[in-house]
């Protein structure tokens, strides 16, 4: 009786409370609502799964504050997956000035410096200036382009770098970006050396890249926050993307439920009036 009275008079407040709960609960306690895995995401996952000990994965870390929300969770998930693969070597490189800051932040967040040994398992090259030309020379010969890593250590002191010469030695390249630089890797690494390339992109960049995917030129794409959430589920480590997607899913379900409810009430009321 009381509940009914409150509902009819204060239905808006009840709806607001419902939305608050559907947003707040996943933030405290991620539910892990199913996020269907797209084949583009699965492409990236399978490619990394197939890496063998000794393979080198190049990560283009072109993250900036503007695309952070969409791309950083992807970046974390992929790095985590790579760190778990024994013997796989990771080479981090970017061509935006902000790139090294985000890369270091991710490495610290994942505790990479303690889990693996720097120099043998992974190397952070920092950022290289010069757009596509720089990528081209990196693919031609890493050592002639760069002498030191991000922190200034000579590359010759890093054991892992001894086996890496040109793009032929890269097993895969995954570029995280919102700009045209994904094209650079496709032109330089894939077209010239046949190195498989994959992308982690913001939602607006996906349609362009999808054409390459359909043509078989890239092995996979991680699309925005939902791609990141799919990846977090694939590696069984729900994180910020899953939490965000949980809240999004619950809220969308609530909206749809409200639309349906209002129509059910509307139709029944009209029937009784007749």
């Amino acid at each position: 009786m009381v509940a009914r009275e409150i509902l009819s008079r204060n239905y808006k407040q009840v709806i607001y409370l419902g939305l608050f709960l559907s947003l707040a609960i996943p933030l405290f306690n991620p539910i892990g609502l199913p996020v269907p895995v797209q084949k583009t995401t699965l492409g990236v996952y399978n490619k990394i799964e197939s890496l063998k000990s000794g393979d080198v994965a190049v990560i283009g870390s072109n993250i900036g504050a503007a695309i952070y929300a969409e791309v950083y969770p992807q970046y974390i998930a992929i790095l985590e997956h790579l760190l778990r693969k024994p013997g796989v070597k990771i080479l981090l490189v970017g061509h935006g000035t902000e790139a090294p800051i985000w890369a270091e932040r991710a490495l610290k967040e994942l505790n990479a410096y303690n889990r693996k040994s720097y120099g043998t398992d992974f190397v952070h090259l920092g950022y290289i200036a010069g757009e596509e030309a720089a990528i081209a020379s990196l693919c031609r010969d890493v050592h002639s382009l760069l002498k030191v890593d991000y922190s200034g250590k000579p590359l010759s002191d890093l054991p892992m770098m001894k086996d890496i010469g040109s793009a032929k030695d890269f097993a895969i390249v995954i570029d995280f970006t919102a700009s045209a630089d994904s094209q650079y890797w496709l032109n330089q690494a894939y077209a010239s050396y046949g190195t498989p390339v994959g992308f982690g992109l913001t939602a607006i960049k996906v349609p362009d890249a999808y054409a390459y995917y359909m043509a078989g030129q890239i092995f996979g794409i991680i699309e925005s926050l939902s791609g990141a959430a799919q990846y977090e589920n694939l590696i069984h480590k729900p994180g910020m993307a899953v939490t965000g997607m949980d809240a999004q899913s619950l809220a969308h379900l609530l909206y749809i439920a409200l639309i349906i409810m209002c129509n059910v009430i509307y139709v029944t009321q009209r029937r009784t009036k007749k």
Binding site: Y16, L19, L33, P36, S249, A251, H252, Y255, I259
Partner: protein, 210 residues
Amino acid sequence: MAGIWRTTATAILLVVSLVILFDFAFKNPALQSLATDLSNWAVVVGAFALGIGAYSLILRHGGMIAKKRPVWPYSLLLLVTMFVFTVTGLITGSITSPQYNWIYSTFVMPVSSTLYGMNAFFIASASYRAFKARSWEAIVLLVSAIFLMLKNAPIGGVISPVLPQIGGVIWDFAGATGMRALLIGIGIGTLALGLRVIIGQEKTPLGGAE
């Protein structure tokens, strides 16, 4: 006297508009710098308009305080906050100073993002109240909204992979048809209204017909 000024206003409207319109069609450095200056002038005049706003606010809220209207403490709070922000900004000489930054990010930024985000709550109440299948038009509206929600939220694809595809088809159709027509109409409508104002047929936006 008044007649001359009235003509001046009409003349300025016409001449300034023509300069800016011609600047778009012709590449002429002199025209371009004139058009840029005129646009900057408008911004400067606009900055002066804020004084009228501040005067209007002080008049209204000062009156509330003087007359001890029931809500006068809020008016006082408003005027004091306004004073504090103005003085802090002017004394520190920049809106990027640490002190100014502190008050701005403490008082203004959270409220802005809260109000912006409040949209999500109002979407909920609007969904419940407004999406009733009263007419065929309303049904079209609500069906396309539901499919788009199912396309965007991952849960749609879980229920059935067909749902996001339908949503995608609707989205592409909407962008290529309704949105396109809407934008073309707005362009044409703005031209028509703009021309009427520029040639002096419509005087209301200048401050009422005289």
